[in-house]
Amino acid sequence: MDTLTGNTRVTQSPDVTSTPVELSKRTTRLTARDVTVHYGSKQALHGISIDIPDRAVTSFIGPSGCGKSTFLRCINRMNDTIEGAKVGGTIKLDGEDIYDPSLDVVELRARIGMVFQKPNPFPKSIYDNVAYGPRIHGLARSRAEMDEIVHSSLRKAGLWQEVKDRLAEPGTGLSGGQQQRLCIARAIAVSPEVILMDEPCSALDPIATAIIEELIDELRENYTIVIVTHSMQQAARVSQKTAFFHLGNLVEEGNTSDIFTNPRNKQTQDYITGRIG
């Protein structure tokens, strides 16, 4: 895809190659230990422990209501905004506890970006949507630099060709699939190190889904990606590591190829073969 090449400004590690490295050899980016979440008196997560590898795609699968979104929101502390939500356990990003009281949540969320299940562009122009993050974090010193960030983010999200002549139009006027790619562009414009995606393709048609999967595959070279999905095929296609959740527990995790070809747990097997869920 020629729209994805050309710009390396947000590249984290220039030494990366496109040949996938064995998962076991990758460094761990995020470690979660014994994470619990309560919504009021109701416990939604029961002690989740998982390592999330650097520059790879990790997918969370599991039946509806099992706590995938809840765990994803723990990683960038979006649960803080939910009244009555209480998080326990530890989550470390590069060895640093993200629930440490001295940590700046706002800065954390700039490092760990999020794409939501439903496209949620701001009621602003396409340009301003993408420029929103860089503006509040002061990432551009001049108008030209801002243009550069916006254009390259849109290119990476595979949206540039479609919107380059209408950057001043409202982002809410785009189609659902375009809006979702706009939200991805908006998330990568702040150069996050980790991108969390909560069912990013659930509202999309197969063509838009294919575009986004391709995009995730490209982004993997520079970012750590966690994706929640209800599609087994999607998890198998885009991710290197898979974690299966059930009723607030992490039942099984491991290399995607192992999980799908040779699950150790009966529940996992039932789920991926379509017997529960």
């Binding site: 960038n76 905004t81 969320r109 949620n120 701001f122 009621p123 939200c183 998330a187 702040v190």
Partner: protein
Amino acid sequence: MNSLIIAALLLVLLGLAYQTGWARGGALATATGTKVHSRPQYHASYVAVWTLVPALIVLLLWAVFGGGITLNFIREQIPADVLAGLDANGLNALVARIHALASGYGVVGEIQPYEAAAGNALRSFQFITFLGVVAAAAVAGLGAMLYARSRITARHRARNAVERVIGFVLFACSAIAILTTAGIVASLLTEAIKFFTFINPLDFFFGTVWAPNNAATGGDYGKYGLLPLLMGTLMITVIAMCVAVPVGLMAAIYLSQYAPRQLRAVAKPIIEILAGIPTIVFGFFALVTVGPFLRDIGAAVGLNINATSALTAGVVMGIMIIPFVSSLSDDILNQVPRTLRDGAYGLGATQSETIRSVLLPAALPGIVGAFLLAVSRAVGETMIVVLAAGNSPVLRGSIFEPVATITVSIVNQLTGDTDFAGPQSLVGFALGLTLFVITLGLNIFALYIVRRFREQYE
């Protein structure tokens, strides 16, 4: 008594018709075995409508024409020589006496024989016509009921017919609302036009002196310049908005975004109580507390502030409007989808950045609408101004001086002796019309803004 009988008649007709329709519709369903189009209650409603409407039409016709017919009858009872000697007023008085005799109330003065005769005749006439009208209504209703009953068949679409009747009733109700508005505007307009036959419109709209000569009989009416009143109204409104908008909006933001749940549960109702305080009480508050307080503050900093002034009235009116602005804005802010807020938080925006750059723009159309509603209220507010603004219709630029507003001047011109013949009282309608045009303009402007932003953001 008569109205009770009529109500009973209508109720009996209604029950009979409903029962008939129900029985007929139900019998169809069981007897024919075919699929019946409408369920029994629709057949029942259908027959009921068919029965009541003709009966009501008969009663309505009598209500419209009955008075004239009765009057004619009375005139025929009066001897020709007496009738010839009466002018219009005399005739009215005589008719009233005859009515009184007929109903048995009795009259003052000596009763002429022809009066007594006419009273007796009228009594029996009224009795007979009443019976006739009731009978006619009953016959019309029953006839229509039989006709409607005969139309009920298995495929008869009673349900659709009832739907049309409901649609018509709803239409009639909205027509009443619209016609009332039109009627009010029309009466304002006609009276205002009468006013402009006394006073040149240019002198009214652009005159800078307000000095109606309320005692004058003929000749000198005084001066009716609108500008001092308009100036007073605008000053007070602007001051009120300067108080209400920032305080109300920020209270709404705090309550909907920052306040812990328990605090919100207590604070919201308290703020809404503020909206329930009668405006006259705000007037006392302005007169007794706020006015002297502002005067003392002014004295302390070397400003000469009158206790009753545009500032006093405006500040208190602003306080009065706060709950409007805040509870409307609060509702609107809560309607902004959570996903939008999450989007901003997810990019690392702080709470106030999120509110400023995402929440407020998305809520803007609604908030502007709330502001303009509040302005309309401020422009039309009267009691606070009566008590706290000093009622001094002089064109001045200072907010520390007493002023008068359009509403207060209407009150002044229309209370006391009024005969609606001279400009002294007719000016009230011209002022009312001006006020109406101002609020109408504000509302149209609000709609325009709301629509423009909605297009942009949806």
